[in-house]
Symmetry: C2
Subunit: 319 residues, 2 copies
């Protein structure tokens, strides 16, 4: 079966659909970061998006695409991170139920966020098999529509709207740095960027400790991560066939960075820019600083994917 | 001797003088904060100002006001906080020397910030007498001009430019909440606010543990703080005759908040708005939440004074 891949036109349609429902987030700059990197760097701040992450774009688009009949049964997912919170709020905004399968041991702040936005949580064991079984149970019981965190046409279209806004605001971007986990943001961003600016380079940024996209991209074959361990908890997931196909077509390069670079870039952004970014969002900034020869003298765009951190458990240590 | 008090015209002149040298900082809103407070709240984000604090406005204005002859001998101060860093950068930008008397035991990040901006530091004992003696020594040795952190006409004029921008961007503000330590920001802000919008209420926000402005305002007599202890380390200083005179004329009320409210407001802003604010900046937000009957249903402006925090020593604890 051929997987359906979004075109730029689909992203334009999504943008119209979600306009007024999602924030048009600001683009910030920092003379400190420019000096350190030798580049002119622009940050698209999706940490200021509703629920604190770009995920609200895709979730909103997916929820808004449902027919009245489908929508009335609600939506469901098994993400334990930002996607679950985003889907919960998008569902509540449309006035429909949201069901989330979550591992019993998920961090308390994440459980609270999902509950805060009004979703019904079903706890399960922390294995993929248990999550899928629990989700299937929910779907057959309720008739809810499963909205995958990234392997979903409408989710990818929604995520692609951030890069579209970014290039509207800063048309001179030469290189776009985007974090890659499951590939929803990277695939959507790459479709928008290549459509809006032919010569732009799109680079996926990945923790070395969860480098399935890097290895898949190098080998031309989808290679899922086995037991990835990284502080960038939003990037533990592996590409799907769909996101991989888009990335192979539109992305120029995947670059990886070690954990120490991610923590140090995160601290730099907090200290210099006074904005809170989550570890996953520090990965492109770490790439910027770890590969200066690729970026010096250029106009660089970085998508800050989110700002949801556990303030009681930060990674900063005496240096 | 009559102390010279700035007029709104002086603030307008300062704004022209420092335009292009300081950031015009953004105004942010948060639907989460609006819901919690029952008000429509606008945040003027001086944490995004150069050196991470509004202090750069006053320091720049003071440095730009010096004649060539005076400027050539440099500037000096004995603040150990944001003013010293601000004065150092303002001096470097004009190409003149900056001398800072700092207590030997000042926190390392503060010493590093001042040094980073190129000031020459002279260490002294942590008493006011030692600081003043050291500063006097610097001034007689170098001929540098002493720029007081707040008891200075040009510094107050510079600080007043933030409120002016704020009211230009959000003309409908009904109440302005400003932190008060030495009173430079509050006095400058109150002059701007009352000139631009006659009916506006200006409220000084102070830690209960450093409530000299509250007590002075209530009694009509300047009462300095004795050994204040608060997490809001930018608000330990006491009003001067000059700032007190302005505050008596233009400020409507001083409200105080306990330490627990400051910490909890700081955490709320970090979590909901994804911006880093220093403890002193959380004081107006704490006032907003501690006195809901005063603010519900109104358009409230809060000046976020700065974002310089020690990330290795944050006050957040399990709640």
């Amino acid at each position: 079966m051929q997987t359906m891949l979004p075109s730029y036109r689909d992203i334009e349609t999504a943008q119209v659909r979600i306009a007024g429902r999602v924030h048009r987030t600001p683009v910030l700059t920092s003379s400190g970061v420019d000096t350190l990197s030798g580049a002119q760097v622009y940050f698209k701040c999706e940490n200021f998006q509703k629920v604190g992450a770009f995920k609200y774009r895709g979730a909103t688009n997916a929820v808004m695409c449902l027919t009245e009949e489908l929508a009335s049964h609600g939506v469901a997912t098994h993400s334990s991170g930002n996607h679950a919170a985003a889907l919960a709020l998008a569902a509540r905004t449309r006035g429909i139920p949201c069901f989330v399968a979550m591992p019993r041991k998920a961090p308390v702040p994440k459980i609270e966020a999902v509950r805060h936005y009004g979703a019904e949580i079903t706890f399960c064991e922390p294995t993929l098999a248990a999550r899928e079984e629990t989700l299937n149970g929910i779907v057959s019981r309720t008739g809810a529509t499963f909205i995958h965190p990234y392997d979903n046409f409408n989710v990818i279209c929604g995520q692609g709207t951030a890069a579209r806004e970014f290039l509207e605001d800063v048309p001179g971007l030469e290189i776009l740095l985007v974090p890659v986990g499951g590939g929803g943001l990277l695939s959507g961003s790459s479709i928008s960027a290549k459509a809006l600016r032919k010569g732009i380079r799109v680079i996926g940024c990945e923790p070395a400790n969860a480098d399935d996209a890097f290895r898949s991209f190098q080998s031309g074959t989808l290679i899922p991560s086995m037991n990835p361990r990284t502080i960038a908890d939003g990037l533990l997931t592996s590409l799907s066939e769909r996101t991989f196909a888009i990335i192979r077509e539109h992305v120029d390069e995947i670059l990886t960075v070690p954990e120490a670079s991610i923590i140090s870039a995160m601290r730099l952004i907090w200290q210099r820019m006074k904005i809170i970014i989550e570890p996953s969002s520090a990965v492109p900034a770490a790439v910027l600083l770890d590969y200066p020869e690729k970026f010096s003298g250029r106009n660089i765009g970085i998508i800050i994917s989110g700002g949801n951190c556990d303030l009681l458990n930060l990674p900063f240590r005496e240096s």
